[in-house]
Symmetry: C2
Subunit: 219 residues, 2 copies
C-alpha cells in the first residue's frame, strides 16, 4: 500500500523558481479548503494547529485570539502550513495498490503579525467576505476592543510542494483476482442552514448563503 | 472573530493523568476521520504531512513507502499528530462571534517503525479491514517485495489535547442588528461508487462497501 497514504509529493521548491502554472496549482489547493494545519516548533518540539486560512496573492493569512500561545510563539518563526483534501478512496485488486485521490499543498514561510489597525480591520473583512460575500457590511460593527483581542498573522509563501492524485486504481493487470475495484468518491459539502434561536430568528436566509450552499463549494 | 479559528483547545495533558472519559474523547476524534496531519521537525524546521491513520487502544499507526524521507526522518522522534473535523460554519450577528463547529484532537508521542514482518502484515490487514470490513481476504495476496517496500509507523499517545464546539452562535443579545444568524452544517460523505475499467469491471459492488457508503461514515 505504498500509495495509500498522502505522503508522496512534488519536491519542496522555492516559489520564485516555480513557473506561473505551478504558482496557480499551489494557490488552487489553498483556496479549495477553508481549513489548514499549521506546523511550528516550540522548544524543539513539533505542534500542529488547525485553523481557517485565506489568501491574497502569494500571501496566506490566519487569525485567532491575541492571547493565543500558538500565535504569540510563531511570531517571526518558520512555519509549515498544509492544506489537504481527500477526494476519494481508491480500491485496487491488491492491498499494495490501494490509494487515495487527494489534493494537497505544503507551504513554508515566516509568520508575521499585522500591527496596523486599518490593515487588521481590512484583513478580517476579507476573511468574512471571502467565505460569505457581502456579509461584513450587514453585521454589528466590530468594536475597538474586539479588534484589539484579535491577532492576524500572515506569511509570504517562500517554498511549496503540491501534489494530487485523480485516477482509478492502477492495477488492471491483476485479471486473476475477481474483486471489485474502483473509486469511492469523498466530498465535503454544506447542508441546509440552521437558523439560530434569538432575535430575528425568522429572517430569510440571505441569497449569498443560499448560493454558497447550492454551489457545492466551501468558500 | 476570536472564536472563528480552530485554535482554542483543552490544555495538553499526559494521557496517564486523564480519566477514561477523556481517553474516550481523544480516541473518538481520531476514529472519526481517516486523515490526520503529522507534524515533525527536521534540522529545526517544522513539516506537516497528511496521511491516513488508524488506532488500536492508545496506539496510533500510519504507513507509507519504505523510501519515504518523512518516515525515515521521524524514526525515534517526537511527533504531533492532529485530527480535525469541521462540522459547520457558525454565523453570528457580529464578526467577532463568528465561529466554527468542529472536533479536533492533537496527540503527541515518539514515532517507531514496526520491524517484525508478521506485525507489519497484521497492521496492514488492520488498516484495510478497518475501513473496508473483510476486504483483505478478497484481494490478491501481498508479495514479500511489496511488504518490504512498505513501512508501518506507530506511536503510543503520551500527551493529548481535545476540543470541540457544537453550538449555535453565542450572541443572541445583539437584538439591534437584524441579520440572519445560524449554522451552515458541513459534512464529508462518500458518494456513488465508480467501478474501475479493466478486468471484472462488471462485478457488483460488495455489500460492505454499499453499507459504508450508506452509513454516512468515512470508516
Amino acid at each position: 500500500m505504498s500509495s495509500f497514504p498522502v505522503t508522496e509529493r512534488s519536491k519542496i521548491r522555492r516559489m520564485h523558481e516555480r513557473g506561473s502554472h505551478e504558482h496557480a496549482a499551489v494557490h488552487a489547493v489553498l483556496d479549495a479548503a477553508p481549513l489548514c494545519h499549521v506546523g511550528y516548533v516550540i522548544d524543539g518540539e513539533p505542534y500542529v494547529t488547525p485553523t481557517i486560512h485565506w489568501r491574497k496573492g502569494n500571501r496566506v493569512f490566519w487569525h485567532g485570539s491575541a492571547a493565543s500561545r500558538f500565535l504569540r510563539k510563531i511570531e517571526g518563526q518558520r512555519v509549515c502550513l498544509t492544506v489537504s483534501l481527500m477526494d476519494g478512496y481508491v480500491l485496487a485488486r491488491s492491498a499494495y495498490n490501494h490509494s487515495v485521490n487527494f489534493r494537497s499543498a505544503m507551504v513554508f514561510g515566516r509568520a508575521q503579525s499585522l500591527t496596523d489597525p486599518d490593515e487588521i480591520a481590512a484583513a478580517l473583512r476579507h476573511l468574512v467576505d471571502d467565505v460569505f460575500p457581502g456579509r461584513w457590511d450587514s453585521l454589528r460593527p466590530m468594536s475597538a476592543q474586539e479588534q484589539k483581542a484579535t491577532s492576524v498573522v500572515w506569511m509570504d509563501i517562500e517554498e511549496a510542494s503540491v501534489k494530487d492524485r485523480v485516477a482509478p486504481p492502477g492495477d488492471d493487470d491483476e485479471a486473476d483476482y475477481p474483486v471489485w475495484a474502483g473509486v469511492l468518491p469523498m466530498r465535503t459539502a454544506l447542508g441546509a442552514a440552521e437558523p439560530a434561536p434569538g432575535p430575528h430568528h425568522d429572517l430569510p436566509l440571505p441569497e449569498e448563503l443560499a448560493r454558497l450552499i447550492a454551489s457545492g463549494r466551501l468558500r
